[in-house]
């Protein structure tokens, strides 16, 4: 009887030891597999292959072709004002610079105070598209942008009208000037600012 009990104990120990050993090797294997999985995932992320679409290729070719002929030179905004009535003015904003120069994006922002109303905002031929034209209570913001048209990249060109709008002064304040928001007025070409701050209009006088 004693022998039987001892044998049962021995068998029990052996099975526990085998179970521990198997469990240990299984855990080790599992960890290795997990490490391998993480490694594969990392490699997949690192080796992500994105392909250029035809649109991308066309965009790049057209942009490079256009930029090859464009000269990087400073641009600025110029304002001219025409008095329509005592309190009504037509303001014309022009993009100025050397004729060989070009721009790919431009923001023009005016700060509006109480007593100033902007209406009839028109964009000009300086840029092919104007994706943003905003008249808010306290500002006017116009963005001109280069665009691909008929397989040709069209950049912003100087000495052309950027935008035109009508200003009406209302109320008792005798407003004589509109200030340009210097921080948010920008002209860019190839990720570089080409705005000539000293030449660009900062105050628009209302005669």
């Amino acid at each position: 009887m004693k022998k039987l009990i001892v044998n049962i104990f021995i068998l029990f120990f052996i099975s526990i030891i085998i179970w521990l050993a198997v469990n240990y090797s299984y855990q080790k294997q599992l960890n290795l597999l997990q490490a391998e999985k993480n490694n594969c995932r990392r490699q997949l992320t690192e080796k992500k292959q994105s392909n250029l679409t035809l649109t991308d290729v066309s965009f790049i070719i057209n942009k490079d072709k256009e930029l090859a002929t464009a000269k990087k030179s400073p641009f600025y905004f110029n304002a001219s004002v025409q008095k329509l009535a005592d309190n009504l003015f037509r303001v014309k904003i022009e993009l100025k610079g050397e004729s060989e120069g070009a721009a790919d994006v431009a923001d023009f922002k005016l700060n509006l105070t109480e007593g100033l109303t902007i209406s009839d905002l028109q964009t000009g031929p300086a840029f092919p598209i104007y994706p943003r034209k905003v008249i808010a209570a306290d500002y006017l913001l116009v963005t001109g942008l280069a665009s691909t048209n008929n397989n040709q990249m069209v950049l912003g060109k100087p000495n052309k009208v950027f935008a035109e709008f009508t200003v009406e002064t209302t109320g008792k304040q005798n407003i004589k000037q509109i200030s340009v928001n210097k921080e948010d007025t920008k002209i860019y070409l190839n990720a570089e600012s080409i705005l000539n701050i000293s030449k660009s209009v900062s105050l628009i006088d209302l005669p």
Binding site: I10, F12, K48, I60, V134
Partner: protein, 372 residues
């Protein structure tokens, strides 16, 4: 003598084995309890763009918690990872936060504009009063009802301007193994799709949401015209937060005190009161369950009376029930929508004026709750 020695050795080995086994299992338990004791806020948001074929993208994100009186805590460089398609998730540690107040959350992912949430259904300009309740333990917050728009690339200034677009145009075609700032969707290359994404936000003149909790509200009236090149779909669901039917949710007994905001909502906005009755059927691990909803009350700030409908209310109950079941069963439980939906009944009442919202419900998974 020999036999005795053998026995002693065997008993000793047996004893040691038992100790080893019990130790290893108790370590597992300790780790488990440690995790459960953490205070976490799991947030899900929806980003503009198509992410179903892109893997491994991570956006460093700034998360700021606000109370009605101002900034409470700021979390920088939180990892926002992809969950499913354009749904992304992040986790913040909420240990040490005052659990007796309601919060609003401002989230600003890298390359994207920031958005402010007062609750899962009240965000951006509608976010006037913090309504998010953070409890101890793990809280899940689904903020996928509105889209985050992209284009505010580094250095981020809260708006999309000429320099952002010019940088993208300049880098179109470049490989981006280290995720260039201009690679908006982080797919490894700067493409026209990145340009389109930013251009859409620019054309709509989107900016970071303003924070109305420190007396700094600016709400200009805009008249915008433009030609967006892409049109992502935005889903906006007006609705009602409800208590989660099963596993039982506990709605905080006291509604937070609402301080009228200096920039109050439009005259048409107000409170939508809903009284909900019905049953939520579901199953978990092949076991069917049912939880009754008896005169459950919920209040929600809505922008107009037309948002205060029974249909919207039922949709919100189903959504909340799904979220509750998902949270408490770790994704293992499902709601039987076809069986639950016909039983649900919402009586809604719209009251214009100052809004008193129901706080975000706390999900108590340990409580079994009443059965049908």
């Amino acid at each position: 003598m020999k036999k005795n020695n053998l026995r002693i050795i065997l008993i000793a080995v047996l004893f040691l084995s038992i100790i080893l086994i019990s130790l290893s299992s108790s370590i597992n338990k300790l780790v488990f309890f440690n995790r459960a004791a953490e205070n976490q806020l799991n947030i899900k948001i929806k980003l503009q763009g198509e992410y179903d074929k892109i893997t491994g993208e991570v956006f460093q994100t700034r998360v700021v918690l606000y109370s009605q009186s101002g900034l409470v805590k700021e979390y920088l460089n939180q990892s926002l990872t992809n969950d499913n398609q354009n749904i992304f998730k992040l986790t913040i540690d909420t240990t040490g936060l005052n659990l007796n107040q309601t919060y609003a959350i401002f989230i600003k992912p890298d390359k994207y504009l920031g958005k402010l949430f007062c609750s899962s259904t009240s965000f951006s300009t509608n976010c006037k009063t913090p309504q998010i309740i953070i409890t101890s333990g793990i809280v899940n917050l689904d903020l996928t009802q509105d889209l985050f728009f992209s284009g505010d690339i580094s250095p981020q200034d809260g708006k999309i301007s000429a320099d952002d677009i010019s940088k993208i145009i300049n880098q179109i075609g470049q490989m981006s193994p280290d995720y260039l700032a201009t690679d908006i969707n982080s797919d490894g290359m700067v493409q026209t799709v990145d340009y389109s994404l930013a251009l859409y936000s620019l054309s709509k003149n989107y900016t970071d949401d303003s924070i109305p909790f420190a007396g700094l509200t600016v709400t200009p009236t805009l008249s915008v015209t433009g030609d967006p090149s892409t049109a992502p779909t935005t889903t906006t669901m007006p609705g009602y937060p409800t208590s989660t039917p099963y596993p039982t949710s506990t709605t905080a007994p006291n509604s937070p005190t609402t301080t009228p905001s200096p920039t109050s909502a439009a005259p048409a906005s107000g409170t939508c009161k809903a009284i909900i009755n019905g049953k939520i059927y579901g199953n978990y691990l092949l076991i069917n369950f049912c939880s009754p909803l008896i005169n459950e009350q919920a209040y929600m700030c809505v922008s107009s009376a037309s948002d205060c409908t029974a249909t919207n209310c039922i949709e919100q109950v189903i959504t909340a029930a799904k979220a509750g079941i998902n949270t408490c069963t770790s994704g293992g439980g499902t709601i039987d929508e076809t069986k639950s939906r016909p039983t649900l009944n919402c009586q809604v009442e719209f009251t214009p004026g100052t809004c008193i919202p129901t706080p975000t419900p706390t999900i108590n998974c340990s409580n079994d709750g009443p059965s049908c």
